[in-house]
């Protein structure tokens, strides 16, 4: 019988009925939640003042698994609900976990209106290269990946840090689940300082990209990030397109006041 030293250190931030989780073995969403709990513990924000909002799909289960003041919303209303929550409780710190389903099909007008209305939220955009829920992976919105989809067609990419800079966000960064410590320090910095911020996490879906030599299984997926990513701090956001055979550019791109 193996002895355990105490209990898991952040047990009071996890919902008891949601472990073991519903995601695939080695999914990037689990790592992002683990990093967020470490970042919230290190910052000087009290845990009663943090609010987590999520939408639909696999990313929509994040609000079910953590024990902050959390809400799960319905289709096409994620950012709108988060804006109303922030206006009612101005001393809370609101964090939104977005995916392709809540942003590219409908909801882009709410995203552009964040800075125009002066609302102060942190957006964590998990980019898994596919939107499967309603349209079965056909090429309606393939946000920023110029590659093959379920029916072997190609669509042009989309550049989210460039959109955020033209809207006027204060802090813009992009990381992968391999860079855990830098992602955690980015989250702590955004939780403590005022102003809207965007952090994009590149984490391809394991069910649809683990064959044909694209990304591989969960262990090979971390090697894929290690070989194909390059850190460039302060790069201009016009050069941040995601293409299939090129390197992924990560780092902090804007850190203003």
């Amino acid at each position: 019988m193996v002895q355990l030293r105490g209990s898991y250190p952040f047990e009071n931030f996890l919902q008891a009925g949601s472990i073991p989780s519903v995601w695939c073995p080695g999914c990037g969403i689990g790592t992002v939640i683990n990093t967020f709990i470490h970042a919230a513990e290190r910052s000087n924000v009290s845990s009663n003042d943090i609010c987590v909002v999520s939408g639909i799909g696999c990313t929509g289960k994040v609000a079910y698994c953590v024990k902050f003041n959390s809400f799960q919303t319905i289709y096409r209303s994620c950012i709108r609900c988060a804006s109303h929550i922030k206006l009612k409780n101005p001393n809370w710190r609101v964090v939104v976990f977005l995916s392709d389903a809540d942003f590219m099909i409908s909801g882009a007008d709410d995203f552009v209106g964040i800075v125009k209305k002066g609302i102060d939220i942190l957006v964590i955009y998990i980019n898994n290269y596919i939107y499967y829920l309603y349209i079965k992976g056909k090429n309606l919105t393939k946000t920023p990946f110029m590659g093959v989809t379920v029916d072997k067609s190609i669509e042009s990419p989309f550049n989210i840090p460039h959109l955020a800079e033209s809207c006027g966000f204060r802090y813009i960064a992009r990381w992968t689940p391999l860079h855990v410590r830098r992602l955690s320090y980015s989250m702590t910095d955004s939780l403590q300082k005022p102003g809207p911020s965007l952090i994009e996490v590149i984490s391809p879906c394991l069910m649809y990209y683990s064959s044909e030599g694209l990304v591989g299984t969960s262990l090979n997926r971390m090697d894929y990030f290690y070989d194909n990513s390059i850190i460039k701090k302060g790069e201009r956001t016009e050069n941040l397109d995601l293409r299939f055979k090129d390197k992924i550019i990560v780092g902090e791109f804007k850190d203003g006041t």
Binding site: R5, P20, T31
Partner: protein, 87 residues
Amino acid sequence: MKVFPTGMQVIKGEVSIIKDRCKGCGICISYCPMNVLEVSEEFNSKGYHFPVVKNPDNCINCGLCEMLCPDFAIWSVLKEKKQVVEV
């Protein structure tokens, strides 16, 4: 026998694993810098092979296995920390 220069710290840690939460992805085993873990031959109640401690004296409490795990199943605790005064 290892010889350390003066003024250096020696840190040791201890790793604990909850085996029923593990889903067998294998990330913690291959990303440990000191080769502390290995795959076990038993499986848990869901049928996955979980990691087992192989060299417990090598752990330096870096915390990478704790932050990389997607299922909240492994963590590390500081065991001792001492300062080397003379060679």
